[in-house]
Subunit: 229 residues, 2 copies
DNA sequence: TTACGCCTTATGTCTATATCTTTTGAAAAA
DNA sequence: TTTTTCAAAAGATATAGACATAAGGCGTAA
């Protein structure tokens, strides 16, 4: 077999990292590269397409391909559901429903979830434990107009996150990470001190333009999200 | 022209989201799909490959392709350098070097950066401002054994991050996000109250197995990292 | 029954060629 | 000079056919 697209990709990357192909410089076109590697143009194309996707090079029709001045640094971040996250740590997962009640949406939440004036929400408060110790506090609101079956569902055994991903998979979401100070309630749940700095994730989820759910996930003290690139 | 791989991808995705193809179910093989779409196998292959890459379907040689039971939720997170980040907010960026000194690596850092006993590091403390207000505090250590030219460089005008990405692009890195409480020093720099919960990023960067730099980036109060998927 | 190894099959990849689309730069028109 | 138009260039994508590779499953031998 002749040269593979992986080898072409690796060779081009090597030339870039070793400085043979300088940042900002133009690269030969696909036809010429294919000729010099002695392979088909499609093979070069795939290698170049992946490098562009990785943020290493920049491609423009007619203008050609050039090495990016500064490579785009990007990571892929998996968003696991908390049970899996805990079990991957090698710990035992336990879930508890703290509180669940259907109620009219408060104003701040109506704005946040883009709800109508009379929309009702299911407010759930849950705890997730790793090896018996508090791991994550979940404060969730589900839009009952968009997902009425949530009101009948029993969340005492299975967490709302798990139920939602199996009931409405393939949603869109916006996620945000930030830091919050533990208030007395959260400190109590997460077994930490009031005022502690905690890592919090907020997530709003849509299905076909309708807001399904908004959730605040507050992690135990010292939680980290790590990534490689 | 006949059907495109994008259309095939969109159609398969539609079937999955609409439930025609149930989660966990096996899909027809590429040859059959190509026949039913009236296109080449390569076209179907690209559509399916991208769906697999998106975490929607699962492919295994011989075993075939099936719809994932729970789609993998993943986001792509760009790691901008702080100047760009601030300018994208529409604010004016200003940089200041607070402190810079070459010194022997303290023990905790030696462990963290996997340094030898006698390795020296350049310790830099910098501030980044958006429209004149504190935005980010940078505490950085550069391994002088790996990057001796850093010692001669003047970091009073251009931040170490910018200098590093142009001097040693194409590095590997591990990033971590977490929350910290502002101590008196940080509170002073970031113009917040001691004890405030702040978002912090830590990053260790390698080049060919050697640790280049370790940095702690502490953001102003209320900083958020947001993503879509 | 169990373990090993072959056969088949589905995906993975390459080739060679062709057409489509976007974009740039130059020529032509105002 | 400025604007419009157009052709060429380069990447984007499609096709048909071929071979490569991994792995499930079955048959055979221990």
């Amino acid at each position: 077999m002749s040269i593979t697209y992986r080898e072409v990709k690796a060779d081009i990357l090597r030339q870039i990292t070793q400085g043979t192909l300088a940042p900002g410089s133009a690269m030969p076109n696909e036809v010429d590269l294919a000729a010099s590697y002695g392979c088909a143009r499609a093979t070069v194309n795939r290698a170049m397409r992946e490098l562009a996707d990785d943020g290493i090079i920049e491609r423009r029709r007619k203008a050609g391909t050039r090495v990016r001045q500064n490579p785009i640094r990007q990571v892929r971040l998996n968003i696991p559901i908390v049970g899996q996250e805990i079990e991957e740590l090698g710990a035992t997962y336990r879930y508890a429903l703290v509180h669940g009640q259907a109620e009219p949406a408060p104003n701040w939440l109506r704005a946040r979830m883009a709800l109508q004036r009379d929309d009702r929400v299911l407010h759930l408060t849950c705890m997730h434990y790793a090896d018996g110790a508090p791991y994550q506090h979940e404060d969730r609101w589900i839009n009952l107009s968009a997902l009425p079956e949530a009101e009948q569902h029993d969340f005492s055994e299975v967490g709302p996150n798990e139920w939602l991903v199996s009931t409405v998979p393939f949603t869109d979401a916006q996620i945000s990470f930030h830091a919050v100070q533990a208030d007395a309630t959260i400190a109590d749940y997460l077994d930490c001190t009031e005022g502690d700095a905690l890592f919090q994730t907020e997530r709003t989820t849509w299905l076909e333009g309708r807001t399904i759910t908004f959730v605040q996930l507050t992690y135990r003290r010292g939680h980290r999200v790590t990534m490689q690139y």
